[in-house]
Symmetry: C2
Subunit: 327 residues, 2 copies
Amino acid sequence: MPFGATPVPGSSRGDLVVIGGAEDKLGKRAVLADFVRRAGGEQARIAVVPTASSLGDEIVEVYAAVFAKLGAAEVYGVRPQDRAEAFDPALVAELDRATGVFMTGGNQLKLGTVVAGTPFGDALHDAHRRGVTVGGTSAGASIQSSHMVAFGPGGATAKQRMTQVAAGLGLLADCVVDQHFAQRNRYGRLLMIVSQSPQLLGIGVDEDTAAVVTTDEDGRQRLEVVGRGVVTLLDGSTMVTDAHAAKEHRPILASGVVLHALPAGSHFDLTDRTLLPAPTVGDPAEADELAVANRDLSKLARDIAADDASPSVLRRRVARRSRGARP
Amino acid sequence: MPFGATPVPGSSRGDLVVIGGAEDKLGKRAVLADFVRRAGGEQARIAVVPTASSLGDEIVEVYAAVFAKLGAAEVYGVRPQDRAEAFDPALVAELDRATGVFMTGGNQLKLGTVVAGTPFGDALHDAHRRGVTVGGTSAGASIQSSHMVAFGPGGATAKQRMTQVAAGLGLLADCVVDQHFAQRNRYGRLLMIVSQSPQLLGIGVDEDTAAVVTTDEDGRQRLEVVGRGVVTLLDGSTMVTDAHAAKEHRPILASGVVLHALPAGSHFDLTDRTLLPAPTVGDPAEADELAVANRDLSKLARDIAADDASPSVLRRRVARRSRGARP
């Protein structure tokens, strides 16, 4: 939703920008530019939360530079370091003036253990509800889902106990987000989690790619893809699995999982879990050809209506149309 | 089907053993043991076709040693080196006495260009039709499908033009087989092929794993999984894709692909493309408990029928049952 719209209950939720890590900061910056635009563009006041990171000021400075370059009005760091700080009213109040909140990468378990279930965590939910754009990359992406991958190895095969799940902030309900998805080959661990919890939608986000979640007036959620890679969805709604019985470290049966690999520009209805039609962009040459043919056909129709369409006129017309269509 | 059954039209096809490469040759040898058993066990006469390999006699010797160890009666090499040799009636006739044919790994494009569309290729089809077990690993797996991955890089993301498809032998219709699936991270290239040709079932076979395809009397085909890894199926029947329009090297949209990850012991109906129930193997402790309870209930029913079930008898009975159920 455009930033600044009057908050209406059920329609005021801000966008969620779920970035798969390693987003471009020097080149086209498609993903971060999208975040800044959604956070208010030239009016954006962006709070950077570097809690997941082992760096602090340095990483805030990097994002401050990039967001400023992209036109944001103000960028500032807000960094709860432990749960005590996440309960500090002064620090929590720092989020009040933000039009966008950006959570950096690092260790999502640190971010979760510091902010989840604290006034700071509640303030992030409040901000999202009042229309603030909330984004995050890598750890800052994982934390947004209701169920969070804590850690676990890569690999294409889902194996029993290969990964650990913890609770996320839950800005995005009924799902589990994984990041660096293609780059770290995380099909297996996401499939393991969906097999154990088929009610969760698995969302795998590639590097330099964002799953942007918007909420319609009626509360329906859509996912749009921005950036270089794809967003992979694993929908286990109607799957069959032996995840309750598979032996430790052995492959898990996962049959009937619906897979969606969505590149930039894809739109997906998260409520119905179906692909939405993309805005049609036709081939310009084909469109020109069609326009010529249509113009000619209109002329022909007028001629026929005026009753002057002799066989020779028709022949010439058809010949001209063929030439027009195959230049 | 058991080797040696009377060939009945439509029911005589031999099993296809599609191995994802790097099958165990020294340890449990589950995959190769399964192949030898299907090829006739102690009566097996196995023709090893090493055409895909840059090695020749050496690789035949390796399989000869393993198959002999596993009890096969005879193992011999048959090696067409070019199309001229694949037209040689004497060499082709070497397949006549085989009860099993095993195609080694190597370069599937070499195997395809040498044998496909030759009398040797036809003889492989004939052998399969008369009940001979046909197996192959890696290149020898790829060649069995109607459409064959020629080459292409790994990676989780399906990208336009990342891989080349050639024609396989087509022992297995309407599908494309990929091998070393998890180990070489080939989700992307299999998904690319299925996106371009949604009528093909994508079959990704892990190393030391086999997709065994059997044909029922009514011509229905089933796939059974043997070995250490999984067989991954990608069914694009109802998918949405932009594979006709995606730009070179860019990710392809693939939405609504049905994914099946099938570990050892899984059975899948290839005709309906649905999972088949596995033979139920209950928890032995749970089964014992149920048997005790059933025995006791039978006694109780007899007692009630004999009208001697006083309240005190019932109480004792229930107490005994509880003790039995929770040892």
